[in-house]
Amino acid sequence: MCFSGHRCPSIILKVIELEVKEVMNIALLSGEILLTSGSEIYRVEDTIDRICDAYGIECESFVTPTGIIISGKSSDGSNESVSMVKRIRNRTINLHNIEIINTFSRELQLSTLSYDAAMDKLNGIKTAPYFSFVKRLLAAGFTSFAYTVLLKGTVIDGVFAALISLLIYSFLEQMKKVNFSQYFGNFLCSLAAGLVSISAGKLISSLNVDSIIVGSIMILVPGLAITNGIRDALHGDILSSQARITEALIVVTSIGVGVAISLLLMKYWM
């Protein structure tokens, strides 16, 4: 597929011949980066098809949020055919990676790269620099502040929510490093958010505890995941939409349980 916003190749300038296996490796790695960056399913399948097409290889791909299956064969009539499976375990949202892979696959259509050059480029994307940790931490704090005030809280509520979300975000970042269970991490974060905000509410009675809790868990709740799940279903990827919605349900349940337990604890403690 070729959008008019990008240059459309009328003739492919040069095609470097690669083995089927090598092309599939490039396509699989691009698909993996897209999927772990939280891309839509149709975009992953589209990109894999486009890369295989650029090297003149027939391929069929089946992508779900938890794994990629692709198989391809060379179109020159030889019997060589390769299938590959990649299991995907972690998914975050990283829009910069989606953008880079998108341009990468479009550039491949204009002129193909050698295997080593392409793999170097992809591995470079995988470790592409984020915003620094401090900037992301501050962004998390300001997000919570903005939503607390937007959802009818006062400015002081917002400051408390921002502080709690700084705590939550640094905790989440630590979890990511040690590969801790995502759901249990969410549970602990929301438990902490509930405990801290209720204790703050006990100390300063003018605070609105509900809006502090809501604001501080704003960076955890899976609103986007539910919406993306339904969008996958509308694109015809029914299986993926089930997976995404189920994941979102488990995440929101763990958050809700965390807050509910902290509410209960505080009721009997004080």
Binding site: L95, I98, E99, A140, T143, A146, L224, I226, I230, G256
Partner: protein, 145 residues
């Protein structure tokens, strides 16, 4: 006015968390602010939150498709952060909390609202992106002739 500024911040800072390129940050924030304005305006006129969310999703995805054309990036980059103020994350959380507190009627109400607004947003984006895709394929078709 303050709400619009807050909605701008509420899309700008999640965009930092989603790691988008620095030059696109402001545009994502502006998209979010425009979406929130549309949401508030329709909500005060019709008092239907699901319809308001639908209109906001249409506005956001129209803006992000146009921006994607101008700045030559995929439209996902703009609409994921700018949908952040209107996606039903908080109402999903309230649903679970109501279920735990044994308030089934409120839970059912909130749960349906969550599903309804998620569906409305998804449908609004799909509507706009399908139209844009159709225009693109028409352009390519015409150019080939």
């Amino acid at each position: 006015m303050i709400e619009i500024l807050l909605a701008f911040l509420g899309s700008y800072f999640p965009a930092v968390l989603f790691n988008i390129e620095r030059k696109n940050l402001v545009w994502a924030g502006l998209c979010g602010a425009a979406g929130w304005m549309a949401y508030k305006a329709v909500l005060t006129i019709t008092a239907s939150s699901i319809f308001a969310v639908f209109v906001a999703a249409v506005v956001i995805s129209l803006l992000s498709e146009v921006l994607a054309k101008i700045l030559k990036t995929p439209s996902t980059v703009f609409y994921i952060p700018s949908l952040y103020p209107i996606v039903p994350g908080i109402s999903a959380y309230h649903t679970v909390l109501f279920i735990i507190e044994d308030k089934i009627v409120e839970a059912a109400y909130k749960g349906l609202e969550t599903l309804g607004s998620a569906g409305a947003i998804a449908f609004g984006i799909l509507l706009v992106s399908t139209v844009f895709r159709y225009i693109n394929t028409q352009n390519i078709y015409l150019r080939k002739q």
